[in-house]
């Protein structure tokens, strides 16, 4: 069975770690570095930092937080929010990020995916997709942290992005995000069957059963979690133990 990665997703607004529901109604949780370091020490496989207002204000504020984090966190770090150019990507990659996640700027100008992939390799480019279920069926890609319609069909968009050189997909369900009601399995399995790059399930994890469903039914390669960790509903050790008991192929911390 494929190895699965467990990822802590930290949404950031200004200096704070925040959490919302459906990417809205953001609540302040605390200092992002403290949480990132705690998750690293508890054995998370990767960290995602997402600046939730960067596109809105046309900036990226994460460099400083990132540089501090890199002194204490020695697992891969993905950073997204407000990446609009190769230079933005370079700045983040030089400050301790291993990958950059792009959404809004890539929808506005898809070639940005190729430009960053050619400069730093596909493995450094994560396409972040904010998907919202449509009444007519299918999903629409949203931008600006779930605020704006793009008019793009998710199924079509991820295939284009893979061709352009995206190395990984961070697939966030706006409908499920912050609800603790499980991932959008239909979305995951539709996308996993279409692309050969790894798919990260994001939005909705309330229990390890949700994780198992994302992997077994949604064919996700990695699972991003936020609420369940930030509100201390489960520790990473508990999540790992239960996932191992459910036969998930994950990193074993002590042998």
């Amino acid at each position: 069975m494929r190895p699965i990665r467990l990822i802590a997703r930290l949404d950031i607004k200004g200096p704070n770690l925040i959490k919302g529901i459906h990417l809205e109604g953001l609540r302040v949780i605390g200092d992002p570095q403290t949480y990132a370091q705690r998750y690293y020490e508890q054995g998370i496989d990767e960290i995602i930092y997402m600046d939730t207002v960067a596109s809105l204000y046309g900036r990226n504020n994460l460099t400083e937080i990132l540089e501090h984090t890199a002194h204490h966190v020695f697992v891969p770090i993905t950073v997204g929010g407000g990446v609009r150019s190769v230079e933005d990507a370079r700045k983040l990659l030089r400050s301790g990020a291993d990958k950059v996640a792009i959404n809004t700027a890539a929808i506005a100008r898809p070639e940005l995916i190729s430009e960053i992939a050619e400069e730093f390799g596909s493995q450094a480019v994560v396409l972040s997709v904010e998907a919202k279920r449509q009444n007519s069926g299918g999903w629409e890609a949203y931008t600006d942290n779930g605020r704006e319609h793009s008019g793009r069909d998710v199924i079509e968009w991820v295939q284009e992005a893979e061709k352009l050189g995206a190395g990984e997909l961070l697939l966030t369900s706006i409908d499920q995000e912050g609800t603790r009601k499980g991932f959008d399995i239909a979305l995951l399995s539709a996308i996993s069957g279409l692309v050969s790059i790894p798919v990260i399930a994001s939005g909705g994890m309330g229990s390890v059963e949700d994780l198992v469903a994302a992997v077994q039914d949604g064919h996700a390669d990695a699972v991003a979690m936020a609420d369940i960790l930030h509100y201390d509903r489960m520790t990473i050790a508990e999540i790992r133990d239960q996932a191992l008991a459910a036969n998930m192929n994950i990193r074993e911390l002590s042998i």
Binding site: P3, A70, H71, F74, R94, G167, P198, R251, E252
Partner: protein
Amino acid sequence: MSAPRVTVLDFGIGNLYSVCRAVEKSGASVELVDKCPRADQVERLLLPGVGAFAKCLDAMRRYGAVDLAREFALTGRPLLGICVGMQALFEIGEEFGEHQGIGLIAGRVKQLQPAAGNNAFKLPHIGWAPLECPRPGRWDSSPLRSVKPGEFAYFVHSYHGLPDDPEAVLATTTYDGTKVTAAVIKENVTGVQFHPERSGPVGLKIMESFVHS
């Protein structure tokens, strides 16, 4: 006694911030050099590398890293290549055609191939995988000496080095049924395909052993 000193070559490719932080965390002082140093100025040499083999080797050649690595290897002091920096230690790389490497390890760098009957093989190989030891005691006195077989490291790659001499294989892992070279060694020259700076406490143990070897 002053702290061990590690020289990290910055030939303009890739993100060296986390490598440098990991070296510091391992108890060494780090020297990130954007101009090629002389071999006698270097105490411990860290050779990073990302991207395609040929592009990386071109950047190394322009910088002077190929000659430096050859000369430095003769001093007997520790050299560590990471990821494409490990692949660069080989004679030939086969990514986008055949290209000359540094040649400190006899053998070639080849694409990972699916095991027989595996039709769903995905590249690149991204993720955590357990380090396997070729035989008991093989890791003694190497930078892997404090690692326990089965401990996990973080990999991002599509190619791996295949040494002519099987004794040069220091560690392997298995990815979706395919045997993967995870680390190679020849005397004072070690290469790791995984990223110790991204492999959590296990990676830091390896960095510490390198720094204190």
